[in-house]
Amino acid sequence: MSVDPATLERVFGPSEGTTIEARARSSERLFARGLDQLVQASGPTSGRLLTAREALEAYGFDKLLEVANEGSALLAPSADAAGLPLSTRRKQLGLDERTVAARAHVTVEEVQACEASRRLPLRTYEKIGREIGLDERFVAVKRLPTINERIALRLRNLGDEVGALGQATVATLAEVAWVAATQGRIADQLGLVLDRHGLEPNSNFGTSDYPAYRWGYLLAQETRRAIGRPAGEPIASMRELIEETIGIILIQCDLGDQIAGATIESQNHRSIVVNLSGANRSVYVRRTTMAHELGHLLFDPVQELSTLRVDDYGELERPHEEIADAVEQRANAFAVELLAPQEAILAHYEKSGDITETVGYFGLGPTPSKHQIRNASSGRITPASMRVARSDSEEWRKYSSFEGAESLAVIDFHPIPGIRPSRAGRFGALAIRAAQERIISWDTAASWLETTEEGAKKAADGIRELFPSVWK
């Protein structure tokens, strides 16, 4: 689309470049969005402030031109487009109004009013939209729910199937789906793209002669080769491997005591979700959970991922040979082989003679470590013959060194007090950097991080220290 320089100047103000995109990138103009419309920002507003680039990406050049020509651009196609997607999605998820209200920090009456498309601040609509996995940029702009449609249906079905996903878990995963989609979009805009290292999905889940767990071993070995980690070298941080080496989104949240983790595919971005509660409080279990989900995410074909796959602790803790589901069996075998390849863990144990030291060296929990050694030694070394030191002993502490490297839960010392776990990770760092580069406004970043604009700016340096790779 070719636009004359005078028009570009009118839309974007002082700016450089010959294309719409270049002008938007260099423009310092801010736009303000209300429930119905978009205007050029001038002075204090209760509306959502957007950078030129942000407004262009969300609403397109024609709307920005309309703002320049007419003073405002109507974004909503109809009055009911404000509430319809909210009520549709909430019902898709099977969530009640009270749960959504509590999570969005609004009242039940506000949820009801928004679903009825009544006159409330856009920010109230946005808060509710994010909690149920909607792209808040399009709340009141599109009559049907945008993004994460299949995840919502899958969540509903999972709840119906297992009956175990309560309102809180469904609501948490719906919000996590929003984080995943948003983080993926911002990472793309910042050029922090996934590097799969040549690792492609693999639909081979084994046969009776060559079971799925063996494929899991092979894929783990392939992964170590691809990322340049020899078998004998421990993976110092699964978190870094996932987020920085491979570039996969990793999100932490509280999912109760049953679910270990999940994978989510949202807007072409695959993400790993790690529960902070339950057995994952142990760094070894958490590393296994992350490795297991990485196995799903790297190698399961799309149809197996089902856009959302939830794994409970029970499956992760069982020896992979005993798991009937080939997809889970393969992922379990992948996890233990990635963390502690059989030959390497056997060699280490035979040299050290101390299973506690071996557990501490590879960062794989005692039970799976013993299984790996037993399998590698063809049953010569039995699990019962290996005695692990008590987890509260000095000997255990001497060898256990992964807690810091795998620290997902930075909430306690995060520069933004009270930030929720799902947004305390790399997501927050990407939001800050995107604001610094005017991909989004500080107002947007602040609302994502549930703080004030000033609070987000003050936290920027501290967040950068926590996630330096986002600025590399």
Binding site: G47, E70, G71, R118, P121, R123
Partner: protein
Amino acid sequence: MTLQEFMAQYPPKVPKKPHANDDEIRLLGSSDGVILVGPAPLETARKAHPNSKDADLARQLWVFSVAESAPSIPSIAERTVVVPPLQSGKVKHSNLTGGGKASCGGELWVDPANARKLYVNGASGRYGPDSEKELADAVAVFSGLGFETVNFGWDDVGPARFLRER
């Protein structure tokens, strides 16, 4: 509030936006379909509820004008086809003033069942109200003419564009 009182409080102002082409400041008159809003009822305008499917066709632009010798409220349907046709295909508020000054501007709809009932907003990029209070005062002018009025109110960023319950 009377129109004169409103204009005393909110003096006429030039358009906030420059015109994009010359026909945006072509002054339209009664032969083009411009009507003057006077005491209720308003029978001559097309009628529809602002949230109905016919709303676009029934949308009337209004301004508090000083273009004539005395203050007046000219109004015209935005979708009126005029001759020669307008470049954008839509009438602009500046077509009601010839690009001159006006105290305020917006849109209105006449209730389909009651020509004494108006739904009024301040949606005008050129002459729109600068505050919620100014919009309320403008709506009070219509009330003063004997209309039952419904004020669209204020969005986060300006005069609301849709009629919503509060």
